[in-house]
């Protein structure tokens, strides 16, 4: 499951980047277009898709169990039972697809096609002499309405396919976040510093080392839970000097992940806004519980700290610390605060 979604998902999000965000139109900041593209879908649309999924299943079940009654109700002749059973199977498949697959958009489109087929079927009920003509007409109107909803939801979710909530990149336990920091340094200085991979372990807290295999490929050794280490290979997927970098892990990575960093010139000429997006499926599931957030130990907070260290190194050449300074005797509380790294101090 995990490998399937990541390979497919990352490919898709990468196409997205190549196709839209990183193309060269220098007068529009890359980041902004990238962000627009990845804007989250409307939650109403996601809820609507859910509703349509359940509706599909209900309708499909009714068609399978009681094809006769359904034919009656919709003004079709009794002789259409087999056709109606077929419709039932199609509906259940579409409903299951919408409800269980990470990207519901294709399944919504399948419903749109199904609706058109149903309209054609119902239209046969309009022929003169059919006793159920009135009911067929009413059903036609209803199906046309459902068709509109299906098409709206499908189109919206397709438009926002770049967002991990829709694209299938994000599994329920996946993490995707963006964080940014403003610095006085120029986009070029920021890019140079980041591109020099020897610098990465200096500000990325969990990274033990990064080695270049070649210009585009790197081997990472990263701290894991409980003193373990994890390793993976990554490749650079986009490299726009002075502007942006994107990378992702290669197949077989222990923790599949992808990220991009964009160095956006501050509109007021005050340096750079560094925008980092990260996406990965963490070991041990999602840690973004309220407690982890409160203790500043959730992954997003940790990455924010990485960015802060990046800024400090660039602007001051060092990372502010108090670790190693003298103190009096710490209480249990004080030692716990240190162990949990709530404070940088010892």
């Amino acid at each position: 499951m995990a490998t399937e979604f990541t390979q497919q998902g990352f490919d898709r999000s990468r196409q997205q980047r190549t196709g839209d965000s990183f193309e060269s139109r220098p007068h529009i900041p890359t980041a902004r277009r990238n962000r627009r593209n990845r804007q989250p879908p409307s939650l109403d649309a996601l809820a609507l898709a859910q509703g349509l999924g359940w509706f599909s299943i209900a309708l499909g079940t009714a068609a399978l169990i009681a094809p006769g009654s359904l034919s009656q109700l919709t003004g079709l002749d009794g002789g259409r039972r087999t056709v109606v059973r077929g419709v039932g199977i199609r509906e259940i498949a579409a409903g299951a697809g919408i409800l269980t697959q990470r990207n519901p958009a294709p399944w919504l489109w399948s419903r749109v096609i199904g609706d058109v087929m149903d309209l054609a079927l119902l239209a046969t009920g309009l022929r003169p002499g059919n006793s159920g003509r009135g009911r067929a007409a009413a059903s036609l109107v209803t199906v046309a309405g459902v068709l509109t909803l299906d098409a709206l939801a499908a189109a919206h979710l397709t438009r926002h396919a770049g967002h991990p909530l829709v694209s299938g990149v994000a599994a329920p336990t996946d993490l995707y976040f963006e964080t940014s920091i403003a610095t006085t340094r120029s986009p070029d200085e920021c890019y140079q510093f980041w591109r020099n991979i020897e610098n990465l372990p200096r500000f990325m807290d969990s990274v033990e080392s990064v080695q270049a295999r070649d210009e585009q490929h790197f081997h990472w050794i990263v701290k894991g839970p409980g003193g373990t280490t994890m390793e993976w290979d990554s490749e650079i997927t986009e490299d726009r000097p002075g502007a942006a970098l994107a990378w992702r892990t290669l197949e077989g990575a222990q923790v599949p992940n992808a990220g991009s960093v964009i160095f956006e010139a501050d509109p007021r000429g005050r340096g750079t806004i560094v925008r980092l997006s990260m996406h990965y499926s963490p070991v041990g599931g999602q840690l973004t519980t309220g407690l982890a957030k409160l203790l500043h130990r959730d992954p997003q907070s940790q990455v924010r700290e990485d960015l802060r260290r990046f800024k400090q190194l660039l602007e001051t050449g060092e990372i502010a610390t108090t670790r190693g300074q003298p103190t009096g005797r710490r209480s249990i509380m004080g030692r716990a605060a240190r162990r949990w790294r709530l404070t940088n101090s010892n």
């Binding site: 060092e318 502010a320 108090t322 710490r330 404070t343």
Partner: protein
């Protein structure tokens, strides 16, 4: 080395701790010759500052001699005599770039804590809680100074420690408080609190052209100092302050008001009791009687400048007065670095002698007594200077060495009034 260590509300111990080390290439270590107790330290002493941990070395007003410098320190040399500003600032970030050093973006290693509390993080400060970096403070024999080329200022040997020590905090703090009032020649400025900060605000307001400075407190020795520095004084236990201010200004109110009291303001009556109860139930973190008065008293369109420290939330603040009467509010931890050179020049010219406020000089060992005395304003205490290398007192002479009736230790130097 010896250091003054905080172990909880009203629990301080001077004890042996390891010497500080250079931790970053831009650090320096100084051997501290004089260090003072600040009104802000009283908030820590009283347990009102969040983010303190037992074992923290406190103190943020100090000076001394450079004894070691890191590999990247360029301007400071071993042997330099320096005064150290209490905010820690990198000199290279957006805020340092506009001389707002107490807002430095790169000096608080625990910035996230401050962000949770206040939305964004200010600079790290010496000895002032883990929210503000958890840096070991300067009530000690040595201190580690990050960004040593940005903070400390070299001071000439012709001036005594007591004359230059307060450049580290209270003198610039009083000065910035007055500067923020945007004083026009002849303005009336009212100052709540005649502690060190209030006194320097009184003097600075005059240096900046105020026509009339009105100082408010209840301790006669403090009021006397304020009037020695040219203020008219009000004892808030004798008069109704807002009423008196109205009368003194023809009903209009002072052009600017300075709250040099902060979160432990003293008051009687209903509001006083209300604040004490809420503060002890932790429903309100700070008691703001002086601020409330200042907001009511200030003239329409005037400025209320708040050097007094508040840490969290306050109640019953007449916000309607701010909006409907178009008041300007100014505040902040002092951007000390910005004021070091110009204020040192004022001292050298003899325009002000900061040693005027010193009433007590004690060996570091007696820091706990010093805190108690300063908090309770006993023995006419206004400012305590601690000497980290002075001989500890023998059992017999374990009395605070008060010079009596508020004369400065350094003596001799004439004050300009």
């Amino acid at each position: 080395m010896k250091a003054n260590v905080w172990y909880g509300k009203e629990r301080l111990r001077v004890e042996e701790v390891p010497d500080p080390q250079i931790l970053n290439p831009r650090d320096a270590i100084i051997r501290i010759t004089s260090t003072a107790i600040c009104g802000s330290d009283l908030h820590i002493y009283g347990g009102y500052i969040p983010g303190m941990l037992a074992g923290d070395i406190i103190g943020h007003e100090f000076m001394g001699e450079v004894v070691e410098v890191g590999a990247e320190v360029r301007k400071l040399k071993v042997g330099d005599r320096v005064v150290n500003p209490f905010p820690i600032a990198c000199g290279a970030c957006f805020f340092c770039g506009q001389s707002q050093h107490s807002l430095c973006e790169n000096s608080n290693p625990n910035a996230w804590m401050a962000e949770k509390m206040w939305g964004h993080s200010p600079a790290g400060l010496f000895g002032y809680s883990h929210l503000l970096g958890g840096y070991a403070g300067g009530q000690a024999q040595y201190a580690r100074i990050p960004f040593a080329d940005v903070g400390p200022i070299k001071v000439p040997s012709g001036l005594t420690d007591e004359q230059v020590l307060f450049l580290s905090d209270v003198f610039p703090t009083g000065y910035m408080a007055a500067e923020q009032c945007q004083i026009q020649r002849g303005d009336t400025v009212a100052v709540w609190g005649c502690g060190p900060v209030g006194l320097f605000a009184v003097k600075s307001a005059q240096l900046l052209g105020a026509g009339r400075v009105i100082a408010i407190d209840r301790f006669p020795e403090r009021l006397r100092k304020a009037s020695d520095w040219g203020a008219e004084v009000l004892d808030y236990e004798q008069v109704d302050v807002p009423e008196a201010l109205e009368e003194m200004t023809g009903g209009r109110g002072p052009d600017a008001c300075i709250d040099a009291v902060g979160m432990e303001g003293h008051s009687h009556g209903a509001f006083g009791a209300y604040d004490r109860v809420k503060q002890s139930l932790m429903l309100e973190s700070d008691r703001p009687p002086a601020l409330r008065e200042a907001l009511r008293a200030c003239r329409n369109g005037g400025t209320v400048s708040i050097p007094g420290v508040y840490g969290g939330f306050i109640d019953k603040v007449p916000f309607g007065a701010i909006v409907n009467r178009a008041l300007t509010i100014k505040s902040g931890q002092t951007h000390v670095q910005r004021y070091l050179a110009p204020l040192l020049a004022l001292i050298e010219q003899g325009a002000i002698d900061p040693s005027f406020i010193v009433t007590h000089s004690l060996p570091l060992e007696q820091a706990p007594e010093g805190y108690r005395m300063f908090r309770d304003k006993q023995d006419s205490c206004i400012k305590v200077v601690l000497k980290p290398w002075a001989e500890p007192p023998t059992l017999k002479s374990r009395q605070p060495q008060s010079p009596g009736q508020g004369e400065p230790q350094s003596g001799g130097t004439p004050h300009l009034h």
